[in-house]
């Protein structure tokens, strides 16, 4: 097929659950490509000699490589190629912001629509998981005699563990919660990332020899120094996540009915409060306001709809253009009936006589000059306060640095805001201690954390071998 012919094939749509149905269930929203659709979509790739898409990927997946194999219907070859670069393809194919990463660089996007790289990644991983070929998974390379500890089993920790296992390290992953996966299990909802998929990816790491120690909070049960000096680990990677929820710091924030998105989502995702057989109390109400406009805000709003809230608002102080969430999440939220209250900033919460939330007072904003982030700074419109009656408020403004490891580790250099200082390769100021993900950069994405975990593993291998 010539490039001309390839460019005539339209980008293949992804079948999805109907918005009117899915807004009340927790099943996955996009249904995935069929094999035929995936092969057709893969055929669109021009296989550029200098693929720009790869430069847009934080873990540098050889994108044209796996897509070319897919186009030739070599599905196991495509998976083998993909998994070399990315330890969690079924996850990334679902949650990466492709439109601002790989797909934004695709040459086809200049005149038409880019190759649906994320959807192909998802298809390749799902096809592999659902086929019987899994026994052929790669086996760990010869043991190197080295032993590393990974603190936290979220995206950065899993990516780091994967690279280390491949290099023959014995790897122990310490997780504070009762399930491994970090934000993949407590934060991202089932309808966006089914938990069976996370479990399958973690089982893959176990097959490679990773040991997961749950209910193990590093900083308390073991300090970093103890892991290095007493427990025999030659290196420690910290991928603990930032952890601490950020609040608005406005009047009335501790009223009953005001929650962090972490709490709201953890109750539903990790503790399964949406299921009849769970005993963890779910958060219920009629009208919810969600503050923020990132992926977590969209997840919270869409989860609230599924929990039976009648009206759910996203309250955001900037305009649509500045919303940091993936385009697909914003689109899905809108389709499901989430209402967007843009250029609105919460000023204080109002309570009833019992201390329950009654309303949030907001003010209108307008966009002024660009600020440090390059986005236009929102400024309040005088005398524009208004009341939004809600019984539930969910604050999804990102996280701050959890102080535990800073307080309990000797010589661990941190920034003024408490984030661990590490170089591009994840080396901290403390020998044999590496770090990556949100505890270094502050709130970011799954794939950026994975990139950091992978680079840190490469640094550990280089420094120790």
């Amino acid at each position: 097929m010539t490039n001309q012919e390839k460019m005539k094939i339209p980008r293949q749509a992804m079948p999805e659950q109907d918005p009117a149905v899915r807004r009340r269930n927790f099943k996955e929203v996009p249904l995935g490509y069929s094999k035929e659709t995936a092969v057709l979509e893969a055929t669109r790739c021009l296989n550029c000699p200098n693929p720009r898409c790869v430069t847009g990927c934080p873990v540098r997946v050889n994108i044209p490589g796996f897509i070319a194999l897919l186009a030739r219907e070599d599905l196991s070859g495509a998976y083998a190629s993909l998994i070399k670069d990315n330890s969690l393809p079924a996850v990334c194919g679902r949650v990466c912001p492709q439109e601002s990463q790989c797909e934004s660089m695709c040459i086809l996007g200049l005149k038409g629509e880019p190759v649906a790289i994320g959807r192909l990644e998802r298809f390749t991983a799902d096809y592999h998981r659902n086929s019987s070929r899994q026994e052929e998974d790669e086996t760990p390379s010869a043991p190197s005699g080295k032993k590393a500890a990974v603190v936290g089993s979220g995206p950065s920790g899993l990516a780091c563990a994967y690279e280390l296992l491949k290099a023959g390290f014995a790897v122990t992953v310490f997780e504070a919660l009762h399930e491994p996966g970090g934000v993949l299990v407590y934060g991202i909802p089932e309808f966006r990332l089914p938990k069976d998929i996370v479990k399958a990816e973690i089982d893959g790491l176990k097959k490679l020899g990773a040991e997961f120690r749950l209910d193990s909070l590093v900083g308390r049960l073991y300090t970093i120094d103890e892991l290095l000096e007493e427990e025999g680990y030659q290196a420690v990677f910290i991928g603990s996540g930032a952890g601490y929820p950020k609040f608005l710091k406005i009047e009335g924030e501790n009223l009953n009915g005001v929650y962090s998105s972490n709490e709201f989502l953890t109750r539903i995702n990790l503790m399964k409060a949406y299921r009849e057989d769970s005993v963890t109390p779910p958060i219920k109400g009629k009208r919810a306001a969600v503050f923020g406009a990132g992926n977590t805000a969209m997840d919270s709003a869409r989860t609230a709809l599924r929990m039976g809230f009648e009206e759910v608002f996203i309250v955001y102080r900037r305009s649509r253009e500045e919303m940091p969430a993936r385009a697909e999440e914003i689109h899905h939220a809108e389709e499901e009936g989430v209402k967007f209250m843009l250029l609105s900033n919460p000023v204080r919460f109002l309570g009833d006589e019992k201390g329950g939330l009654k309303a949030v007072v907001c003010q209108r904003m307008e966009l002024g000059e660009p600020d440090a982030s390059g986005r236009r700074r929102p400024v309040p419109v005088p005398d524009s306060e208004f009341e939004l009656p809600v019984d539930t408020a969910i604050v999804a403004l990102g996280t701050e640095a959890n102080p535990l490891l800073r307080q309990t580790t000797s010589d661990l250099a941190c920034s003024e805001r408490g984030y661990i200082i590490a170089d591009e390769d994840g080396r901290t100021k403390k020998a044999r201690v590496y770090a990556g993900g949100d505890i270094v950069t502050g709130s970011a994405t799954v794939i950026k954390a994975m990139g950091a975990g992978k680079r840190a593993a490469q640094a550990i291998i280089k420094d120790l071998m």
Binding site: H178, D215, L221, S260
Partner: protein, 276 residues
């Protein structure tokens, strides 16, 4: 990661003592810290008090059956396992040396108070324990407190044991005498509030240990937030102990009731399932 139950006994109506095998935790725990426990694979995560640990790796927990999850925990027997025990959590108690201190415990609050009192005595303090309960049968750990303190005084609401009345009366008497360097308070919120006000009146520094609603216990959910000196703090990571005079107990009381209706439903469910 299941944790085997080595010992279990009932201390009073609805109050249980349970020892679980958790060697690393037993070694690392210090006075003032707590654990998050999940009895079974579909259970809620709940914060519980550690009262002691031993050389054989046992960690002793004390809990009251107030809702589904604690009833579920109480239904387990020696030889069974608890699904998850996470800890030690929270900041350990700051233990001063060679002072004169008063430890006030109300009801089940005596459980977290015991390791604090022991640590205080070991550090050379003179420790007076003041224990309160609604009635004699509900008083727990009296013997243990007597060995952890130089002196123990007791008050019961109905006068069935010790003095009749509230612990605040006994605390007031002590503060009036003078010479108290620090007061440690653990118990129901109204009792802690009343004691905190007394210590403020006498200008004696005091510490209260809180038991807020929380999920992860590691600083992630923010559900346990409490106003201390006008600032929001997290009980799980910044606490569980805070300067008593600065705690907004009214807010704490209100926030502890967030799930009251749900707890009621769960208790009924537990009874239906034969747990309590």
């Amino acid at each position: 990661m299941p944790f085997r139950i080595l010992e279990k006994k009932k201390l009073a109506d609805q109050v249980y003592y349970m020892v679980v095998l958790a060697p690393r935790l037993a070694k690392k725990r210090r006075a003032g810290q707590f654990v998050i426990v999940r009895p079974g694979p579909r259970s809620e995560r709940i914060p519980l008090t550690m009262v002691s640990s031993n050389q054989d790796g046992g960690v002793a927990l004390i809990f009251q059956t107030v809702g589904y999850t604690t009833m579920e925990l109480a239904s387990l027997e020696v030889g069974d396992s608890v699904q998850d025990v996470l800890g030690p959590l929270g900041q350990p108690t700051e233990i001063p040396e060679k002072g004169s201190v008063v430890c006030v415990g109300g009801g089940i609050g005596t459980a977290p108070l015991l390791p604090i009192a022991s640590a205080l005595k070991e550090a050379g303090n003179h420790v007076l324990g003041i224990l309160g309960a609604r009635t004699k049968e509900l008083l727990i750990l009296e013997e243990e407190m007597r060995s952890a303190c130089q002196e123990v005084r007791i008050a019961t609401d109905d006068g069935s044991y010790g003095e009749k009345g509230l612990v605040t009366n006994l605390l007031r008497t002590e503060l009036e005498k003078g010479g108290v360097d620090h007061v440690y308070i653990v118990g129901p919120i109204p009792m802690m509030k009343a004691c905190a006000e007394l210590t403020k009146e006498f200008n004696v520094p005091a510490t209260a240990s809180l038991n807020s609603i929380m999920i992860d216990g590691t600083g992630m959910c923010g559900g346990c937030r409490v106003s201390v000196g006008g600032k929001t703090r997290y009980t799980c990571v910044d606490g569980p102990e805070f300067p008593a005079a600065e705690i907004d107990f009214d807010e704490l009381r209100r926030r502890s009731g967030i799930y009251r209706d749900y707890e009621h439903i769960c208790r009924l469910r537990a009874q239906e399932e034969g747990l309590g």
